[in-house]
């Protein structure tokens, strides 16, 4: 019994496409968080009343999907394709181990809870 957490930082405007791509692959469950991030795309210049100022963090969304080990690659590639624009700031996907899953409603664990 082993699962993966796929954590994708994506552009806010890509959420719908990612959701649809994941759903098409059968991944319905997911959790989304509003985050701020920086990376290659270092920040953004905004307008002050006169002149500009630089903000170091950009609004992004973090999409978390917990999947079975063997579904992992399928989910990753669904996200990759739907989130890509080719410009800096497309985001990253992090994969990490999850040891157990519990469905609160029923108390089911592991595979059955996903």
């Amino acid at each position: 019994m082993s699962f993966k957490k796929i954590e994708a930082i994506i552009r806010s405007e890509k959420l719908e496409e990612v959701r649809i791509a994941l759903e098409a692959e059968g991944f319905v469950g997911m959790t989304v968080t509003e985050v701020k991030g920086r990376g290659t795309q270092k920040g953004i210049v905004l307008e002050w009343r006169a002149g500009e100022y630089r903000v170091e963090f950009l609004p992004k969304l973090k999409v978390e999907v917990i999947v079975d080990d063997f579904d992992c690659e399928r989910a990753i590639s669904a996200i990759e394709k739907s989130a890509r624009t080719g410009q800096p700031g497309d985001g990253k996907i992090f994969v990490s181990p999850v040891e157990n899953i519990i469905r609160v409603r029923t108390g089911e664990r592991g595979d059955k809870a996903i």
Binding site: L46, E47, W48, R49, A50, G51, E52, Y53, R54, V55, E56
Partner: protein
């Protein structure tokens, strides 16, 4: 004789101008970081509470009471003793004296509130209240008397200030400058961005200010007559023209923002204030547009200077007020207001001289006194919040609350 139409107009104008102080609070609060939204609001609204009482007790008397040597009003109207439901013909012949008093109250309240933009996010609330009380007594009251009080020396000299370019905006803008110098920069200023956290709040504040300014300038006619209408019209025109000009300038620089447009509108309103009872709509277009350009670059310069006049009170109100007072000396027409004077462009260079002199005197006076007040309070109580309070944010640290949960 009391005229009901005039009274109705002055009352509603007063209500509008009183509403402008909380509106200013919103205008300012939207531009600070989220952790200081409420403390910024608190600065404005606590002034409304404080000065409303001060004005009734002695502020009005000091500003408009029987003249002493052209310099200050007497104490004859302490506690509004003798200020009643009949007219005071010297100030306004067709409305109750109390109506004139409360209209002036609204101005006495908003003027110090303007200054607060200079020291948001780091002021100690207790020291702040003390500063405001002293400032209202030692800066506002004398200047109001000089320019507007019967017997005031600048008024007698022929200085024109229809609705408060000098009394309100120059005193506030200049005092903001001295305050910014004394209190110093916000921690991290210049290094980390100080993002405006709630621009819709600022826009709301700005357009409530625009709305209220119809009372500010239109009400300054103290009657619902042609002059009030004229002031009303040029107010709207200058605000619009300045907003447009600001939009164009920032577009040329890069992009037109709603924050910029709102700022431009306020600057246009500031600049037309002293002139509003004396100029034509076409002049108002020019006054608004030029004021916007001046303040735009004043902000850019101020930003580079490293002085943390956080919400650019000097660049907007100080420069706007100075330009407006001078522009009155250029664009005023007796054809608009026979009780006024012609300006330079209408053949009377003398007025410009008087206006320039008035600006200089008031700016100097306001700077010196406000600087001294700030220094003295800072020495005794510290103007500045503790470092830990500034870090956490004044909302939680000084007021025990957070804007949003």
């Amino acid at each position: 004789m009391i005229n009901a139409g005039d009274t109705a107009w002055v009352l509603i104008s007063t209500a509008l101008v009183i509403m402008m102080t909380p509106a200013l609070g919103f205008f300012y609060a939207g531009m600070v970081r989220r952790k200081n939204i409420l403390s910024t609001l608190m600065l404005s609204v606590s002034i409304l509470a404080l000065i409303s009482v001060q004005w009734v007790l002695y502020g009005y008397s000091l500003s408009f009471g029987t003249d002493h040597a052209g310099l200050i009003g007497g104490l004859n109207w302490l506690g509004l003793n003798g200020v009643g439901q009949e007219a005071n013909a010297g100030y306004a012949a067709t409305i109750p004296h109390l109506a004139f008093m409360v209209f002036q109250l609204a101005f006495a309240v908003i003027t110090p509130a303007l200054i607060t933009g200079a020291f948001v996010e780091r002021i100690s609330f207790g020291s702040f209240l003390l500063y405001i009380l002293l400032w209202s007594t030692f800066v506002y009251a004398p200047v109001a008397h000089w320019v507007w009080g019967i017997g005031g020396w600048l008024r007698n000299m022929g200085a024109l200030d229809f609705a408060g370019g000098t009394v309100v905006h120059i005193t506030a803008g200049i005092s903001a400058l001295s305050m910014a110098m004394v209190i110093g920069k916000r921690k991290g200023y210049g290094k980390t961005p100080m993002e405006p956290s709630n621009i819709p709040l600022t826009v709301l504040g700005a357009f409530l200010l625009w709305f209220g300014w119809f009372g500010f300038n239109g009400g300054s006619a103290l009657a619902a007559n042609g002059l009030a209408v004229s002031a009303f019209v040029v107010t709207n025109t200058a605000a619009a023209s300045a907003a447009l000009a600001w939009m164009v300038v920032s577009w040329i620089h890069k992009r037109p923002s709603v924050l910029g447009l709102a700022t431009g509108a306020v600057v246009g309103l500031v600049a037309i204030t002293p002139a509003s009872g004396f100029v034509s709509p076409l002049s108002a277009i020019v006054i608004g547009a030029v004021a916007a350009v001046i303040s735009y670059y004043a902000i850019l310069i101020r930003t580079k200077s490293g002085l943390d006049d956080s919400l650019d009170v000097f660049a907007c109100h100080g420069m706007g007020g100075i330009f407006g007072a001078l522009a009155t000396g250029l664009f005023a027409e007796k054809a608009i207001n026979s009780a006024g004077a012609d300006g330079l462009f209408f053949g009377n260079p003398g007025l410009f001289g008087i206006q320039a002199f008035t600006v200089a005197v008031v700016a100097l006076f306001a700077f010196i006194v406000s600087f001294i007040l700030a220094k003295v309070i800072d020495a005794i109580f510290s103007l500045r919040a503790k470092e830990a309070e500034e870090n956490i944010g004044l909302d939680i640290a000084q007021h025990g609350e957070t804007a949003f949960s």
